[in-house]
């Protein structure tokens, strides 16, 4: 019973840095984080290497058309298309896991101004997503290009646009995670958050594709995933945005989602 008074305990004021540290503790202390990040690594590296192995071994048998369509970087980064979902889902879970379990009440009791929690989550999760994605992308690049060099169909690291694409792919995944965080914070439910994210990333583009080409060509580049995709693509087709402009637009979508989430988080009952 003597410990209640805590005469030796220093209780400080809330700071953004402290809330971010708390969010780091939360992030690393649940299993879903480990599994989602592991899945992201496996998808980026595994699928990228698999694609390179297939192209390298089948190269002598490929038709001229298939050879023309082949791009050493696109095949190499094929896993990013899948990793965007695992990292986006983790972004959703980072916030909806708190709502579904009731943890959010403890969180908001400790930080009643609420918004530092959202900023803290975005900072910590953004940093983690980038720190996982970037090495994975460099590993798969060097491993994959090493494999492709067996048929001399590899692309050099020094080739214009390669370094930008590699860093861009890591930034793309980071922004996708933050987009998921924003969407999750808006809807506050894991199922709805994942459905919304998957809908925007995977369902929206084919729906736009059903429209007349003149319309879809003018809309397509501005869809979140297409805009973000521009930054990790070399030799883009004419209907894509410039690399950094595309990433900036995608980041703008994520920022908008987080901004809407912030307004709602401040107002809503918990």
């Amino acid at each position: 019973m003597s410990a209640v008074a805590a005469s030796t305990t220093h209780v400080g004021r809330i700071t953004q840095r402290r809330v971010a540290l708390s969010e780091w503790t939360k992030l690393r202390s649940v299993r879903s984080t480990r599994w989602s990040l592991l899945a992201t690594l496996v998808l980026i590296i595994g699928i990228g290497i698999l694609a390179c192995v297939v192209f390298e071994s089948r190269w002598p048998h490929l038709s001229p058309g298939d050879r023309r369509d082949f791009h050493p970087l696109r095949a190499n980064l094929a896993g990013v298309n899948f990793a965007q979902l695992s990292i986006g889902v983790l972004g959703v879970l980072v916030i909806t896991g708190e709502y579904s379990t009731g943890m959010i009440r403890a969180t908001f009791s400790a930080v009643p101004k609420r918004l530092p929690v959202l900023w803290g989550k975005a900072m910590v999760f953004g940093a983690v997503a980038f720190a996982i994605s970037l090495p994975a992308i460099f590993i798969v690049f060097f491993a994959g290009q090493g494999i492709l060099s067996g048929q001399h169909i590899n692309i050099a690291f020094s080739h214009p646009g390669v370094l930008r694409s590699l860093i861009g792919a890591a930034l793309f995944l980071t922004v996708m995670g933050l987009f998921g965080l924003g969407l999750g914070a808006i809807v506050r439910s894991t199922a709805a958050g994942i459905a919304l994210l998957a809908g925007i990333v995977f369902v929206l583009p084919p729906i736009i594709g059903l429209l007349p080409t003149s319309v879809s060509d003018s809309v397509n580049p501005y869809l979140p995933s297409n805009a973000g995709g521009a930054v990790w693509t070399i030799n883009p087709d004419p209907h894509t945005l410039a690399p950094w402009a595309g990433l900036a637009l995608f980041a703008g979508y994520a920022a908008l989602a987080i901004a809407i989430a912030a307004v709602l988080m401040k107002r809503r009952d918990t």
Binding site: M1, A3, V4, A5, A6, T8, T9, H10, V11, G12, R13, I14, T15, R18, V19, L21, S22, E23, T25, K26, S29, V30, R31, S32, G97, E98, T101, G102, M103, I104, R105, A106, T107, F108, S109, A110, V111, P112, K113, R267, D269, T270
Partner: protein, 311 residues
């Protein structure tokens, strides 16, 4: 110190808290009593700023809770619904909360030991029993060494030993000069722990008084008399403030007189008594008497709704 002033909270059509005002003072345990669904948990959420009131305001130690620089040092709360991520260990849960205020790890270890969770501290909280969950909630509430402690139904799910422990803990916290505000739907539990009572029903204040006042004021004394001449005795003792119920031909219950008065009257008139018992209503009965109006309302509404549904 908790100050609730003219607070009203509606969820859609339903009024959960209705123009409620009260003050909870430091240094004593204040019980927050009301039937289930009377608005206790809502009131506590409003005090913590988890929900926003439609009208009125709540202050904790003189300020709205969210305006404090170190809120966990001002108020610590155990909320009725579980507020823990099921996938996280008790230790990580407390550490994450502690870190928002720069509270050291040593304090987390200290509290885990205090609430008796040392052996399961590294296990996922999702596997905790209700009692273990309550202990973790109490640890979270005390983390910031708060001046105000607010616990929603803390003894729910605890074994008798745990209940005893919570009672002692609450009284100790109050003796240290803290404001201690504890909700319950059991009057008997409050009578053991609290010194002051705030009773609500249907979101409205019903009583704000000391436990002693409550016990004396609300308890109904009656005297039970068994006598072959019960009818004659009833005539003799009857008066404007005396109420007599005949239970059996030779058994009556008298309210408004003490057993001494009834016994003396019987002796003076040579009436034979087989039994003379002073009876006191239980605290639970007194509480139900006090909150009956709000319960009756609920029943009426339920009936009306049922009829409407059937029609």
């Amino acid at each position: 110190m908790i100050e609730v002033t003219n607070v009203t909270k509606r969820y859609g059509e339903k009024v959960a808290v209705n123009d409620l005002s009260f003050t909870v003072r430091p240094g004593i345990v204040t019980g927050f009593l009301g039937p289930n669904g009377s608005g206790k948990s809502t009131t506590m959420r409003l005090i913590l700023g988890l929900d926003a009131p439609n009208a009125g305001r709540t202050l904790v130690n003189g300020k709205p809770y969210r305006d404090h620089a170190a809120p966990l040092h001002e108020a610590g709360a155990l909320l009725e619904a579980r507020s823990v991520h099921t996938g996280r260990s008790a230790y990580s849960h407390l550490l994450a909360l502690a870190q928002t205020h720069g509270i050291a790890r040593g304090r987390v270890d200290e509290l885990i030991e205090l609430v008796g969770l040392t052996e399961v501290a590294r296990k996922r909280a999702g596997g905790f029993s209700l009692g273990m969950g309550q202990r973790l909630g109490i640890a979270s509430a005390l983390l910031g060494d708060p001046r105000t402690v607010m616990l929603d139904e803390p003894v729910n799910g605890l074994d008798p030993e745990g209940i005893q422990w919570v009672r002692k803990l609450l009284q100790k916290l109050a003796r240290e000069g803290r404001t201690v505000f504890v909700s319950s739907h059991l009057m008997s539990e409050m009578a053991m722990t609290a010194e002051h009572l705030i009773v609500i029903g249907r979101g409205r204040l019903i009583a704000d008084m000391s436990v002693d006042e409550f016990v004396q004021g609300a308890s109904k004394h009656s005297v039970r008399v068994r006598s072959p001449q019960a009818e004659r005795l009833a005539e003799l003792v009857s008066g404007p403030d005396v109420k007599i119920d005949a239970i059996e031909p030779s058994l009556i219950e008298i309210r408004g007189l003490s057993s001494e008065q009834v016994g003396t009257t019987a002796a003076e008139n040579g009436i034979v008594l087989y039994e003379l018992t002073s009876q006191q209503a239980s605290l639970e009965e007194a509480f139900m008497e006090l909150t009956r109006d709000s319960l009756e309302f609920h029943t009426d509404v339920a009936e009306a709704e049922t009829k409407a549904a059937l029609a």
